[in-house]
Amino acid sequence: MYKRILVANRGEIALRVIRACRELGVETVAIFSEADRGSAYLELVDEAYCVGPPKSAHSYLKIDQVISAAEVGNVEAIHPGYGFLAENAHFNEVCRSCNIDFIGPTPEAMNLLGDKNHARALAREVKVPVVPGSEGLVDDEAAAIQVAHEIGFPVLVKATAGGGGKGMRIASNDLALKSAFSQARAEAQAAFGNAGVYLEKFIERPRHIEVQIIADNHGTVVYLWERDCSTQRRHQKLIEETPAPNLPDRVRLEMCECAVRLVKRANYTNAGTVEFIVDQDNNFYFIEVNARIQVEHPVTEMTTGIDLIKSQILVASGEPLPFKQKNVKVTGCSIECRINAENPKANFQPCPGVIRRLITPGGPGVRWDSHVHQGYNVPPFYDSMIGKLIVHQPTRAEAITCMQRALAELRVEGIHTTVPFHAKVLAHTDFVDGWVDTSFVERAFFAQPL
């Protein structure tokens, strides 16, 4: 086990990793930008280093600063959290060359699966269904049109280096495809430095269902079942849950086994998530792999009883996973709401500012993962998530009731939050009945066709 690790992140995930370390007896070194100086969670670490001014590009994303802090702080490993440098293969390599472990997959596995087009090719190799689409990258308009005619409109033009719901455009006919194609390439070049795009059939009303896996360095790969993340707004997840409602067990199991096959083929180790979309007939298709721990990992922790962050640290330090597939049992249902500092009545405009009053919910089956406290000044420089509210109950109906109860107890005054919006979503019959797809939020609340 490591003696000391550096947490290369901020906010709630930094606190999450720090908590796991404190229980494992591992010393922690934190980094922070000038905007995060004085954050309460920094009082829990052994050493903390300021890595730059507020903007992420000049602080949390500055590889040289992060590595310097790791060296000065004398750590053996770095946990990258999610976002920031978590899926940066170059950073992963730099860590290695400085004799610092990266708590996550190898750079090779990261590169292999991080390129979405390569990941699709790998999936085909191990007979994991992929969304019908182009064989590889599409280099020109004529090729795009040909593929579109083969697979049928509507189609999605997707950036191979994209992710997190960015770099995608839909087209329903040749004309729309021509402009979507050139625009997508230009955007991809600007956003990701890689203009490569491929085509996929656009699946109507898809469900977003992902499988959590974890693999150690000794050949054991375990699936920890699935999460349904279909409740999204503009491709950003709002609510996640496990198990996926109204999904036949046979399909659930098949998806999990596909995830393991794919991950094994890529020699992937540590935690990761294999994303699928599921159509209205319960056919599932592989989309991409997220080679990192995810925001919504707590719902899986609640139903399996497995601490995913501790497992990541254990695996990275070379220890075998303390459980095999047959030991993994799930109980009940868990739901997570991502609470953002945004005003749902003003087009979800971000609301940085001081939290004048904070009352957090509690009671059986309620978990609040957050770095904020009363008096905390939500900075304007980072994503707007201030906390994750998670519940766990024996049935889905009880989980929804519990979440409504917890949301009503959660008081955040001084800034706007998405709490009232979550309450509305959870009360909607489509959600209660468990028939939610990725277009649900837009259709039900914003009357926008996707």
């Binding site: 000038e34 004085g38 590595i67 310097s68 000065v72």
Partner: protein
């Protein structure tokens, strides 16, 4: 840290802290960072740099040590980082995380000492990060009146290194 009586040699001894605060005010120091064995205390005086609405002064010191500064930051958003403490005094701060070296090499004299005059392009120290030795310029004209870090001390972004009196010529 024990909560029984602290001795005069303990960083957290109240009398010592009181003296430190007096010294800070006397010499117009903004930050003092002390380490003794496993103990560490950092005292920050005055309003910290803020970039958005009011924020409470940070405390990297352990919770049981009395804060040197109790005044909260001003209500209006402050301008970008001001290097000026009093009008004529400028603090040179570390731009990066690394190790501070006062000398160009172990056998040489320090780059600068108290009383030296510097120009904006004068190298005042080296900060080593990832095996690269970065020469740090004064960026100000004036006289070195304080050296705020020890040789070979780890520093991070924003750490005060030197104090320069720009009135001097």
């Amino acid at each position: 840290m024990s909560d029984s009586d602290t001795g005069p040699d303990d960083v957290f001894d109240v009398d010592r802290i009181r003296r430190l605060v007096e010294l800070m005010e006397q010499h117009d120091l903004r930050e003092v960072d002390l380490r003794q064995a496993e103990q560490r205390i950092r005292l920050c005086r005055g309003a910290e740099m803020v970039y958005a609405s009011p924020v409470a002064p940070p405390a990297l010191a352990t919770p049981s040590s009395p804060p040197a500064s109790a005044a909260p930051a001003a209500a209006a958003p402050a301008p970008p980082p001001a290097e000026v403490v009093e009008e004529h005094m400028v603090i040179v701060r570390s731009p990066m995380v690394g190790t501070f070296y006062a000398r160009p090499n172990p056998n040489a004299d320090p780059f600068v000492k108290i009383g030296d005059m510097v120009a904006p392009e004068t190298t005042v120290c080296i900060i080593e990060a990832m095996k690269v030795f970065n020469e740090i310029p004064a960026e100000t004209r004036g006289k070195i009146v304080a050296v705020l870090v020890d040789d070979e001390e780890p520093v991070d972004h924003g750490r005060p290194l030197f104090k320069i009196d720009t009135r001097a010529s």
